[in-house]
Symmetry: C2
């Protein structure tokens, strides 16, 4: 049986840390196929990705990924548990046997922790304290029942993957890799050849040098415009909040606990996104949760639509090389339950089409001068290098 | 009994032609009070007014108007028949006895024509030809039954006033005044001291000289920013069309005959408003009708909301002098059926308040750098000059 390694990534943008991880996978696991499920144009921290999904696919293919499949917005812009569950559903369809992910403590056995959490009484795990974030309450629970906490973002995500694996009854080999070279410092500021994606985006936006932190292909693609930032889209969010009815906003995914009034009020006076976020921030919600809410709002994504998208998943192929294409060919000959999309037809995009809302969401980028993101686009093909 | 003269105006902007009309009213009719019902921030041709309602109120007061009351969006952005009907409802409440309006042929007896039209069989007057505009079909009817046509915009409007007067059973003296000095040419290009508002707006936008066409107060106010144009708001309209669902758009006022699909499709490719309008234009709809539809859409005004606004009318006072204030005082002591608003309280503006949707519509201007348009604003007071 072949070994298919899978990575769940945003590549926002693809940098030297990502390249190191891919090389390590080749070295340690010798996979037959290396598959990446990559967030499309919208990422988990509630932002439009810096460059579009096609540019980021090019970066991944140039670094040796065999197959890139899109993680659509209904999955990519979600709290960790839903993000992980939906990503693993796609990995399962793609025949992935081994999951590699970055972790602050790779010695942790995530699957064992997840099994222990399953045994915690249900009522204890229903978080009702409106003054604290989900993560805080989860950790209080872990501390109480298991005697430790998982406070780092990638610990939380690793645990979510393990929980999803159990939930889907999907036996998957877990390979947490230490995120190399990342210190407290270069998470926020560039330093040497390895820096966090956040630090690199900040440098790019500020016009500072970042070339040594990314592979040559990323560099060449990142030097092209357009780039996308919340600052560009905030006037649209503000407009939407100022003109929407309470009922319109009430229907938006995750718009609960009266948040719509808070958002509408902040929009009256806040003329930039940073100021807006500060006005709506409370202890109850993380910055990421609020940015995601802002993204759902500007994209007009309702609870009903998000549910429906999750019910009608698909595999949208963004790119491959010969190995990836061959793997896809084999998958299609088996009994896949999800449709494989290599060409976005009008039928997929029309009102009843399974991609309708995802295509509509991507249209936001047109307002930032993006080229068409779906219709007529075929998977990118990477020749042997 | 006192003579109260009324004018229905947009003053977009207030120019020498308007000044001439007011002087003629004083000279010919010697009114005790001169009342103007003025469109708020949105005008009948489906645009945001060049400058806001407060600036335009200042212009009118400086020219000697005694009382300025707002014609809210549910009335100001409508086809001629509804525009006229709703404006006359306000004039009736304001105790107006004499209506003065511009006309290309003041010798026409509009009330007599309106009475004749009332006698035309109902089924003949139900226009069903989807290839032609309302105006074209109305004129075919007039030609057939009365033997003449009313093709000029102000003839149509005058007739609409007369029809509204009959419909409301509101006996009103009609004074059509010849619009002086206007030729075919200066409708579109500035020429001398009298030019059309359209020509003046075009000149202002193009940065050409226009000072001699407007009174000094208008000039001083027009030299200040911000100004509002569709070009500023088109990105918001485009965003809205690209992210709204078919159901969202179907609910918009006047969005019928499948227009939402046409608008959505045009928004994908059209990057400016002019190009967008050309893409959606057909023989069936006039430019004004389509611009109004665009305005309803960008303001997210549904059929239900427009109906509700019409059912809950009010008199929002924008400005007065001592005479106007005194007149308002007398009116309030009588049994007015509509509330008089001289201070926009939070209660009027909250979700159930009668001004809620009108205030929300005005918020569009905040995105064009306008100051707050309603809360905390009191009527402007013009001292004797």
């Amino acid at each position: 049986m072949s070994r298919v390694c899978g990575v769940i990534a945003e590549y926002n943008p693809f940098h030297n840390g990502h390249l190191w991880q891919l090389k390590e996978i080749r070295r340690r696991l010798q996979p037959d196929v290396l598959v990446v499920v990559m967030s499309g144009n919208f990422v988990q921290r509630g932002e439009v990705a810096l460059v579009d999904k096609w540019q980021r696919t090019k970066m991944a293919l140039a670094a040796g990924v065999d197959l890139v499949v899109e993680l659509p917005i209904y999955a990519s812009v979600q709290p960790a548990d839903i993000f992980a569950l939906e990503a693993l559903r796609l990995l399962q369809q793609l025949g992935v046997t081994d999951l590699v992910f970055g972790s602050e403590n790779p010695e942790l056995d995530y699957l064992t922790v997840a099994r222990k959490i399953q045994k915690i009484p249900r009522q204890a795990a229903a978080f009702q304290d409106y003054r604290q974030t989900y993560a805080t309450q989860l950790n209080q629970l872990l501390e109480r029942y298991l005697g430790f906490q998982l406070t780092k973002p990638n610990q939380m995500l690793g645990l979510a993957y393990a929980q999803a694996s159990l939930q889907l009854n999907y036996p998957l080999n877990f390979h947490p890799y230490l995120r190399t070279g990342l210190t407290e410092h270069n998470q926020v500021t560039l330093q040497g050849e390895i820096s966090s994606a956040t630090a690199i985006r900040t440098a790019i936006q500020a016009g500072r040098a970042y070339q040594e932190t990314v592979p040559a292909t990323s560099w060449a693609l990142l030097e092209q415009k357009p780039h996308y930032y919340w600052s560009q889209f905030y006037p649209l969010l503000r407009y939407r909040l100022l003109t929407a009815t309470a009922a319109d906003l009430q229907a938006i995914y995750q718009m609960n606990e009266g948040l719509q009034y808070k958002l509408q009020q902040a929009a009256v006076s806040a003329t930039d996104f940073t100021n807006f976020l500060y006005q709506i921030k409370s202890k109850r919600f993380t910055w990421a949760r609020l940015r995601r809410l802002c993204l759902y709002t500007v994209l007009n994504l309702t609870t009903e639509q998000m549910q429906e998208m999750r019910m009608r998943a698909y595999l949208h192929v963004l790119g491959f090389n010969q190995v990836g294409q061959q793997h896809l060919h084999v998958l299609k000959s088996q009994n896949l339950t999800l449709p494989v999309i290599t060409k976005v037809t009008q039928k997929l995009g029309n009102r009843q089409g399974i991609m309708a809302r995802a295509i509509q969401a991507d249209r936001l980028l047109l307002l930032g001068q993006a080229p068409e993101q779906n219709f007529g686009r075929r998977p990118l093909y990477q020749r042997e290098v």
